[in-house]
């Protein structure tokens, strides 16, 4: 059996079980979590079905969201595509800024081991900090939620690219370095025509890791401090108890994350040398 057939069967099995569980448990509104009812108070009017909607309901909701995806008639209720575009825009801005800093700086670190050693303690201390830990500070400094989320993306995307570029630039194969030396290749040409292409696979790996992290983090960052974006959307739907919308958003986030990774890995293959 081909693997993709198994994937389709697994998906069908998963959806069937989901449908069975949610449809049968379905006393209307009866089994809302009392804890949640207390939290949500009177404002939240629960949907008629159980707390978890059926896949059919999610599908319907997904269809509604997608046909109104670009709706901007009500500024307080933008279509889901706008939210996704806000999120993508912030991710790309923060990410591009991170590339612009990380790749040249990583190169400098890779080519100057002493500089690397001097900066390494700072990198090692800052790298493990959860990006969200920066959020309140960023909001305080920038006084703008969009700028803050872009900064969060920047700060979380920079480390894998910085470290990978530095390692790539410092670990050019000795035989290639010897070729450069034997034939008298000048310093600048050595960097541009030998070190740079030689470290390209490492740089691209760093970029792939970073885009994954950035797409991860944007959702959380927008939940904490934004008035738009897919993270805000999910939090807003949660407040409205639109569980189906939340599930649709989760699936969309996954698919866009996959698309970003596939796109970058395709670019990586194009830019990296073959052996």
């Amino acid at each position: 059996m081909r693997p993709w057939i198994a994937s389709v069967l697994l998906l069908i099995a998963f959806l069937s079980i989901w449908q069975l569980l949610t449809a049968s448990s379905g006393g209307p509104a009866a089994n809302i979590d009392p804890e949640y009812a207390r939290l949500a108070g009177q404002s939240a009017s629960p949907e008629k079905t159980g707390a978890i909607p059926t896949p059919v309901a999610v599908g319907k909701r997904g269809y509604e969201l997608l046909i109104n995806a670009f709706d901007s008639s009500n500024p307080n209720n933008l279509g889901i595509a706008w939210h996704l575009l806000y999120s993508l825009g912030r991710v790309l801005l923060g990410y591009v800024l991170a590339v612009l800093v990380a790749v040249p700086l990583g190169f400098a670190l890779g080519l100057a081991p002493r500089l690397y050693q001097a900066l390494n303690p700072f990198i090692q201390v800052l790298r493990p900090v959860s990006p969200l830990a920066w959020m309140p500070l960023a909001l305080y400094v920038f006084r703008d939620s969009s700028v803050s989320t872009i900064f969060i993306i920047f700060i979380c995307a920079i480390w894998p690219m910085l470290i990978n570029t530095a390692v790539g630039a410092s670990a050019v194969r000795p035989e290639w370095v010897n070729v450069s030396r034997v034939f008298g290749v000048g310093r600048l040409e050595h960097i541009v025509r030998i070190v740079f292409p030689a470290s390209m696979p490492m740089i691209m790996t760093g970029m792939r890791i970073s885009i994954g992290i950035a797409w991860f983090v944007i959702v959380a960052a927008e939940m904490v401090g934004a008035q738009s974006g897919i993270g805000y959307f999910i939090w807003n739907e949660w407040n409205n108890l639109q569980i189906a919308s939340m599930i649709v958003a989760i699936v969309l986030i996954g698919m866009i994350g996959l698309a970003l990774d596939v796109g970058l890995s395709w670019t990586a293959r194009r830019l990296s040398f073959r052996e």
Binding site: E175, N178, V179, V182, P197
Partner: protein, 265 residues
């Protein structure tokens, strides 16, 4: 006149505690147009000696002269063919060859002339069809031809070959040896070549320098190969002197130097 003059050269590497002495007072003079093979068991320091001549390493004792000038680092008068072809995989074959030409003929040739020269050199080693190909698209033997072309194209005073055929299968090796003979006859290059193949040394060299086992390797014996050129491997097989050279080298490598080799390996 001596192309390469190795004067009393010693080489020690910093190790844990006391330094590791790889070469101990090596003296060797290579004449213009001469083909010298360095042979010895692996780990005897023959590649170290070649790297010293190339200027990739600097000796801890003694001095090396190339064309009368002291070697202080790599220079355009010496070009090297590496054991592991060492082609840059992101450049086409012709770009790989051009890389060396660009440095050696800076300000002396135009860009177009450099390209022509690179293509000519690739044709010299019979790679007309691979000029625009990337290294991953060609075979191991062809890669090594590109490596030879890259070195030849810079028109060095001395060509340094570091076991260039060591990683190739026997048939490919033979055809590249023949190719090298033909090319060297045309360019009349001075060559220093590291090998551990006795037949290869006799086929190619005017002089075979046999090194003792390391550490602190020295020149154990030097054998003049006075076989007429052009040499043909099939005729050589039935040549009486060929057998004699072979026996002398086997005797040196496997009788005089064998015990240490076993303990060193």
């Amino acid at each position: 006149m001596a192309s390469v003059d190795v004067r009393d050269v010693s080489m020690a590497f910093a190790g844990n505690g006391r330094p590791f002495v790889a070469l101990d007072r090596i003296g060797l003079s290579v004449r213009d147009g001469e083909f010298v093979c360095l042979i010895g068991h692996s780990g005897c320091g023959k590649s170290t000696l070649l790297n010293l001549i190339a200027g990739l390493l600097l000796p801890t004792g003694g001095a090396i002269l190339c064309g009368g000038a002291p070697v202080k680092g790599p220079g355009p008068d010496r070009a090297m063919v590496f054991q592991s072809h060492a082609l840059l995989p992101w450049m086409t074959c012709v770009e790989n060859v051009e890389l060396g030409i660009r440095q050696a003929f800076r300000n002396r040739l135009s860009k177009a002339e450099m390209r022509v020269k690179a293509e000519q050199t690739l044709r010299l080693v019979h790679l007309d069809h691979a000029i625009q190909k990337y290294p991953y698209e060609i075979s191991g033997g062809m890669k090594q031809r590109v490596g030879i072309a890259r070195a030849l194209a810079t028109e060095p005073r001395v060509l340094l070959l570091d076991e260039p055929f060591g990683a190739l299968d026997a048939l490919t090796r033979s055809s590249l040896q023949d190719e090298l003979i033909r090319v060297i006859e045309k360019t009349r290059s001075t060559v220093v070549m590291v090998t551990h193949d006795i037949d290869e040394a006799i086929l190619l060299a005017d002089r075979v320098v046999m090194m003792t086992n390391g550490p602190a390797a020295r020149i154990g014996d030097v054998l003049d190969i006075s076989l007429p050129r052009p040499r043909d491997r099939i005729e050589l097989a039935s040549n009486a002197r060929y057998g004699d050279y072979r026996r002398q080298m086997l005797d040196f490598l496997y009788r005089k130097q064998s015990v240490q080799a076993a303990s060193g390996a």
